[in-house]
């Protein structure tokens, strides 16, 4: 997932800036320099992204060794993909639905937060900033486990809701609500910070100008502020949606054993629990990546990549 996230960042990331007009005598050196500068980055990409990727592709096409679970041989077993998809398509759909809902929730919570930080916080801005970032000082897993405790049956949330008879199943953990809540919580800073950084760059005078031109607050926001913050929204949604759809920790720790497992859980289980599951796990990983890439292209095509920076 980490590799994937960085990969997509690379995919959408900057290309070397176009060369300045060259002076005749330094043409040779100037032409080479950008390529030399690229070497460390390219080497990193090849070693830690391309090579593992090729290996993953090879594994996903391997066949099980008949009679020896856990052993495989090189093959071109494309049907591994068909089998993996026919068995785990609900997990893939669930991953994207959960990640999508979490992204929308994170946007609904994160935008006002970023807006308040950028325009209304005044001297409290830095304090708010620290509060948004503070969770990163604790491990992701520990924070998720902490949510298990907070949402536990005898914890404050569940016992209050239970007392009010608002909890049909009697518990919050082991439901999809807990999984989506966990995803939203864990990825909220990834939504808030990019939006904040693009809001913060807006010249307040431009917003004032909206008022000068007799637009009310809502119209100004709708016509001026929101469009100008779109690059942040775009980056925030990607940074939330992509890792969230590959996440397995929230579903593992907060979800149940039926109908809340995501594709990451299926991959984990195929790899570690099922003898002979390697190719299926690899095929699922590849499918997940492919779907995300397709979605990414569609998304950036619609909203443009130049806004991302």
């Amino acid at each position: 997932m980490t590799a994937l996230a960085s990969a997509t960042q690379h995919a959408t990331g900057s290309h070397p800036a176009a060369d300045q007009p060259d002076e005749a005598r330094a043409v040779g050196a100037r032409k080479i320099t950008p390529y030399l500068l690229l070497i460390p980055g390219l080497a990193w990409l090849v070693l830690f992204f391309i090579v593992p990727m090729v290996q993953l592709a090879v594994v996903s096409l391997e066949s099980k060794f008949p009679g020896y679970p856990g052993y495989y041989y090189l093959d071109l077993a494309v049907w591994n993909y068909r089998d993996a998809l026919s068995e785990f398509w609900p997990h893939i759909i669930r991953s994207f639905v959960f990640a999508g809902v979490a992204t929308i929730l994170a946007f609904i919570i994160g935008y006002p937060l970023a807006y308040a930080m950028a325009f209304k916080a005044g001297k409290w801005r830095n304090v708010m900033m620290i509060l948004v970032i503070a969770p990163f000082f604790t491990s992701f897993i520990l924070r998720t486990i902490a949510w298990r405790q907070i949402l536990a049956d005898e914890g404050p949330v569940a016992s209050t809701l239970n007392a009010l008879h608002l909890l049909p199943g009697g518990h919050i953990t082991e439901t999809w609500v807990a999984v989506v809540a966990g995803l939203t919580y864990n990825f909220l800073p990834f939504m808030t910070l990019p939006i904040y950084s693009s809001l913060e760059r807006i010249d307040p005078k431009i917003i004032e100008a909206g008022g000068d031109l007799y637009a009310n607050g809502f119209t100004t926001f709708h016509k001026v502020t929101l469009p100008m913050s779109m690059p942040g929204v775009l980056a925030g949604t990607l940074m939330t949606f992509i890792p969230a759809s590959g996440d397995y920790v929230n579903a593992e720790l907060l979800g149940s054993d039926i109908s809340t497992k995501m594709v990451g859980n299926a991959i984990e289980s195929q790899f570690f629990r099922v003898p002979g599951g390697y190719p299926t796990a690899a095929a699922l990983s590849f499918t997940l990546m492919a779907i995300i890439l397709v979605m990414l292209f569609a998304y950036t095509r619609k909203f443009g990549t130049e806004n991302l920076l």
């Binding site: 980490t2 093959d75 520990l142 049956d153 099922v274």
Partner: protein, 410 residues
């Protein structure tokens, strides 16, 4: 992001993180089982000749025990006597007596994740820096099927005959040529007497309406499905059919979808018992005594279900690439002395496999020495229908694990 965090508690999560960091595919690719297999595979896509697991002649590495007086031991957590300074008195005594240094590592959380971590290296003959590892029967079975352990030389182990008779013959290792039991335990019912408000005796009692959503079961299918199959009248030591196994699985699925079973979990089920999310469970015997000690709540109780309980044993084995075989055997032999075994039993409260340990323990703790959960008599086991889940063939193992993964929602 997960790369920068300390290891999480949940073994499954931790295992996946290890996977993400280990560059698994290349190592495993290289470990395809010999260049012959790889060559054949490159030339054609037909199945290559059988992998290394099928080799009849196996070369074991040279023993350097005499020159390197060390032994590296990978064991499960909380599975050895320990004092307040986190030292292991029995290990210290061993080093004092023999001059062999023991590097003790609580590296194993879970059979599957540890095996999947080391197997690729072992298959290609690489050292894993361990001379002893400990696996439950069924995983020991897989280790031996894949030829990943070295035979024991019983002549060097004068105390090994102290092994209790009931564990001398096992289907996965006839004659105990490769393995010696470390500790054993039961899979049965654990519950909080005060919170449940009555005694639980059978598996059916777990599905009472008032316990709905308050029951957890183990992610180890041999225990969970095992006790459920027993409650369905199946002899789990016999050659039961896939259909009989499926019937047990269907019961678990039904209980999960009906909301009776809250969670199917490995070691972390203890947390749900502590937090009150669950008040009854299918669990392992020793964990309940640990839970009692941890929470100070004497209401936790372990019972063997009336339809029968599962019995499992964890086995000491020497990895195929170990070069300190003699040292490892010396250490195993050391723990088969009754007084040493009693020391360990007093701490871990699991089933002690050593003859004479009960008498030794009686000298220090007469009460504990009478506990049938630590020193079960043959009649106790038959009376309570305690059975070991039979060894599965590799095909069954893969098939059943796959079906179980589906029950767990994967």
């Amino acid at each position: 992001m997960t790369k920068h965090v300390p290891p999480p508690a949940d073994p499954a999560v931790r295992a996946l993180i290890q996977l993400a960091q280990s560059g698994f595919s290349r190592r495993r690719m290289l470990g395809l089982g010999g260049s012959a297999a790889a060559l054949a595979a490159l030339s054609a896509c037909a199945p290559p000749p059988p992998p290394a697991a099928n080799k009849t002649e196996i070369k074991y590495p040279k023993d350097v025990s005499a020159s390197e007086k060390i032994v590296n031991w990978a064991n499960w957590t909380l599975y050895l006597d320990v004092d307040d300074n986190k030292n292991h008195p029995s290990l210290d005594a061993f080093t004092k007596a023999t001059g062999i240094k023991v590097s003790y590592d609580e590296a194993i959380d879970d059979n599957d994740s540890y095996f999947n971590k080391i197997a690729p290296q072992l298959r290609q003959g690489q050292s894993i820096d361990k001379d002893i590892f400990v696996f439950t029967d069924w995983m020991a079975n897989r280790v031996l099927q894949q030829n990943l352990a070295q035979p024991l030389d019983l002549i060097q182990m004068p105390h090994a005959p102290n092994l209790i008779p009931s564990l001398r013959e096992v289907s996965f290792d006839p004659g105990r040529r490769f393995s010696l039991p470390w500790q054993g335990g039961y899979g049965g019912i654990g519950y909080n007497k005060a919170k449940v408000g009555r005694e639980l005796k059978s598996i059916a009692d777990l599905w009472a309406p008032d316990l709905k959503g308050k029951v957890t079961v183990l992610s180890e299918f041999r225990d969970t499905v095992g006790v459920i199959m027993q409650s369905q009248g199946v002899d789990i030591t016999s050659k039961f059919t896939a259909d009989q196994f499926q019937k047990g699985l269907d019961e678990v699925s039904k209980r999960v979808s009906d909301g009776n079973i809250r969670r199917i979990k490995g070691n972390s089920y203890i947390e749900d018992l502590k937090s009150g999310n669950a008040i009854a469970c299918i669990c392992w015997s020793g964990d309940v005594s640990m839970l009692k000690a941890d929470t100070g709540d004497e209401n936790w109780e372990f019972v063997l279900p009336d339809s029968g309980a599962t019995l499992w044993t964890d086995n000491l084995m020497i990895p195929i690439t170990s070069t300190h075989q003699a040292n490892a055997m010396k250490l195993m032999d050391y723990y088969y002395q009754p007084d040493v075994a009693a020391l360990v039993a007093a701490y871990v409260n699991y089933i002690c496999p050593v003859i004479g340990a009960q008498d030794e323990l009686a000298k220090t703790d007469a009460e504990l020495a009478k506990d049938p959960l630590i020193f079960p008599s043959e009649s106790f086991l038959t009376e309570h229908k305690v059975q070991s889940f039979r060894a599965l063939t590799p095909e069954e193992d893969a098939d059943f694990s796959g079906r179980w993964a589906k029950v767990m929602g994967n």
